[in-house]
Amino acid sequence: MRIALFATCLGDTMFPKAVSATALLLTRLGHDVVFPERQTCCGQMHVNTGYQPDALPLVENYVDAFDDTSIDAVVAPSGSCVGSVRHQHEIVASRYGSASLCGRVDTVKAKTYELSEFLVDVLGVTDVGAYFPHRVTYHPTCHSLRMLRVGEKPLQLLRAVREIDLVELPEADSCCGFGGTFAIKNAETSTAMLADKLSNVAATGAEYCSAGDSSCLMHIGGGLTRLRTGTRTIHLAEILASVEPAVAPKGVPA
């Protein structure tokens, strides 16, 4: 398959290791991975903060970057950004864009996937040949869980990783409190949510807290490092891309 990576603005700028892990993983699985350089951001921050007209150029740019028949699928290491492409782009396009944009949005969104659903549903793999000899807990991010309904797919992938010690996160499906600009506008409520997430992570005794969204990991990781908990955050893609005998990826230090 010819797969276009959607790095996401946050992944490209702040968490490039999650994106390069995605690229290496899909390449290792035998696919032709490309990176359309025109891409920037899905526009979710604008839509979720109420700035839909300002999201229009970003929706257009996303479609321009990936509306290419030579691309079989667009894959992003983010449930949240894929959720925006799948559920919000059509709202912005139908309200502010042309009819032709609406059609192109439909075409591109139909082939846009979050990493775990792409691996399990489209490629039909759960064992990607990864090796990760560490204690890991997994936080299912809200948008992957409730917008995309990825369900158990990330856990199926993690369970197939050799030597991993996967421990269940208590209250796993509770939001970590990130919520984009929510973490700024309602910083104190967000912090109260994060506090409970951090104690649940701590209760697992995990070395790594993993998730499919760098944004939520940035939030959880920001709390873990502030409190010097000794637990690192790591994107699901980085675990799935690590192979024996390569040195384990570092994650974000605590």
């Binding site: 490039p16 035998g30 300002d54 506008k185 912090t191």
Partner: protein, 500 residues
């Protein structure tokens, strides 16, 4: 006004639909209340588990939710004709129907009806609609004493407090506080009353029994009103509602106009959806229904006050009207991670939690500068737990996003809008975006040797008050992709792929 005398823009609702402070400010105080955090955390977790048990056991739960949503969509599409049908049916059975455009009109109608009975006391069934219009406060000003008969509502009323949950209004109180409230406020209370819950309930029971037997007028809300038959329905757990609905001479029911169901048969769907979503029970203990008046049995005078109070304004919003499907079960409150930490008071309105964050601005508006209601659509991390829990499938996260859009449309251009515009411009071309990424890389200076940013300026300080921000990496992904290192890594992965 149009030629027909109808207002072009439907009026907004008034009453208890707006707090005094914006959500983040109100939440700050609530977050610091350990009693509230503990009580609400415990109660919401308990109800969550119960709800999941009783919804999970029904093989057709999803179809029931679809049916509930479909009935409510139909009701909103045909609201005017169904309301007229309800009025005709109630009138035919000996009831009297009154129409109230807003809180003030509804309060005036109810006051007038009570005065005509000659009583200066009323007993009340727990009701969101009368909370919404501030009926108790209004009656008090008019010299009429209203007694709440639901135990938790009584605690709230005697404590001169406000409910913090739709279903469990005194969720924020502990038994020591309740004892103290009873000792201070309840007439003829045993001065040796302790804080044993059974004893507290018995004290309330004794006080209320006397009211049930002596007060000749009751005021209720309604969970459902059936257009086909004119039947009203109240579901409850304690039996106090049944007392109020059957013992007094006069019954006055205040019902929001969206509470309609077309036919009696529709109750089949909603009497399954509501208790399972609300208390996590298969069936609520008491379901009372009445149709007009029956000579020699129950209240001999029945008045139905149909309340608009902003509902028509909400109905005019093609996207937002979905919120009028709400059956006030409170499932969305119980699963909400924000509500779980802040409780209901932070929302300022009768309707707290996720649905309140939608309904309050819709009913009462949010367009005034610095309107506290304008902060409510932002009081959510958009985690989506509410949508999954809603028995009538209200897509609350999408409605919150829509209201954020409406708010910004009406707001004056400010620093946030400027920042969003700038971000939009930077991100709409990869050339400008890579330049912006270079600037973001300067964040490494802020991080210094520790590799973490611990002190961001301006509004971003909210983040670093409690969390670090990682330093931007030396290389963006696109730089890695174009680098020799990136190309070599990909070539190696390709080789490994061929060996697999």
């Amino acid at each position: 006004m149009t030629a027909l005398g109808m207002p072009v823009v439907p009026p907004r609702g008034s009453g208890n639909l707006r707090g005094l402070e914006k959500f983040p400010d109100a939440a700050r105080q609530e977050l610091a209340n350990p009693q509230l955090r503990r009580n609400i955390g415990k109660a919401t977790h308990t109800i969550r588990a119960k709800r999941l048990n009783v919804t999970g056991e029904l093989p057709d739960w999803e179809q029931l939710r679809d049916a509930g949503a479909a009935v409510k969509t139909d009701v909103l599409n045909r609201l005017p004709e169904l309301l007229v049908q309800l009025e005709e049916a109630v009138t035919a059975r000996g009831g009297v129907v009154h129409w109230a455009a807003d809180a003030a009109e509804a309060n005036a109608i109810v006051t007038d009806l009570i005065r005509k009975t000659g009583s200066d006391e009323v007993i009340k069934v727990k009701s969101m609609a009368t909370q919404e219009i501030g009926l108790n406060e209004h009656l008090e000003e008019q010299g009429i004493a209203a007694y709440e008969t639901d135990l938790a509502e009584l605690i709230v009323q005697l404590g001169h407090d406000k409910p913090s949950h739709i279903l469990v209004p005194a969720i924020h109180r502990n038994r020591a506080e309740i004892r103290e409230i009873f000792l201070r406020e309840m007439p003829d209370v045993d001065p040796d009353l302790d804080d044993n819950p059974r004893h507290l309930a018995a004290a309330a029971r004794k006080f209320l029994r006397h009211k049930f037997m002596t007060v000749p007028v009751a005021v209720s809300g309604a969970n459902f009103g059936i257009a086909e038959t004119g039947t009203l329905a109240v579901v409850e757990s304690e039996g106090n509602g049944r007392m109020c609905l059957t013992l007094p001479q006069t019954l006055i029911t205040v019902m929001g106009i969206e509470k309609l169901l077309p036919t009696f048969r529709d109750l089949e769907v909603f009497l399954q959806l509501l208790p399972r979503s609300s208390t996590g029970e298969r069936m609520n203990p008491y379901t009372s229904m009445w149709t007009g008046v029956t000579p020699g049995d129950g209240p001999q005078e029945f008045h139905l006050v149909l309340l608009d109070n902003g509902r028509t304004a909400a109905l005019a919003d093609e996207i937002g009207r979905e919120a009028l499907h709400c059956i006030r079960c409170s499932a969305c409150l119980n699963v909400c991670p924000v509500y779980e930490r802040t409780g209901g008071h932070a929302y300022g309105s009768t309707y707290p939690g996720p649905i309140g964050a939608v309904l309050s601005p819709q009913l009462a508006g949010m367009d005034e500068p610095h309107d506290p209601n304008a902060s409510l659509p932002f009081a959510s991390s958009l985690c989506g737990a509410c949508y999954d829990a809603c028995p009538v499938k209200i897509d609350i996260p999408s409605l919150l996003v829509e209201l954020r859009h409406q708010k910004v449309e009406h707001a004056r251009f400010g620093p946030e809008a400027a920042a969003m515009k700038a971000a939009s411009l930077a991100m709409s071309s990869s050339r400008r975006w890579t330049a912006a990424q270079k600037a973001a890389g300067l964040g490494r200076v802020l991080a210094g040797k520790k590799g973490r940013i611990t002190n961001l300026p301006g509004p971003l300080a909210g983040w670093t008050d409690a969390r670090d921000m990682p330093a931007p990496p030396k290389q963006t992904f696109r730089q890695w992709w174009a680098s020799d290192e990136g190309r070599a890594a990909l070539a190696k992965a390709r080789e490994e792929g061929q060996q697999r």
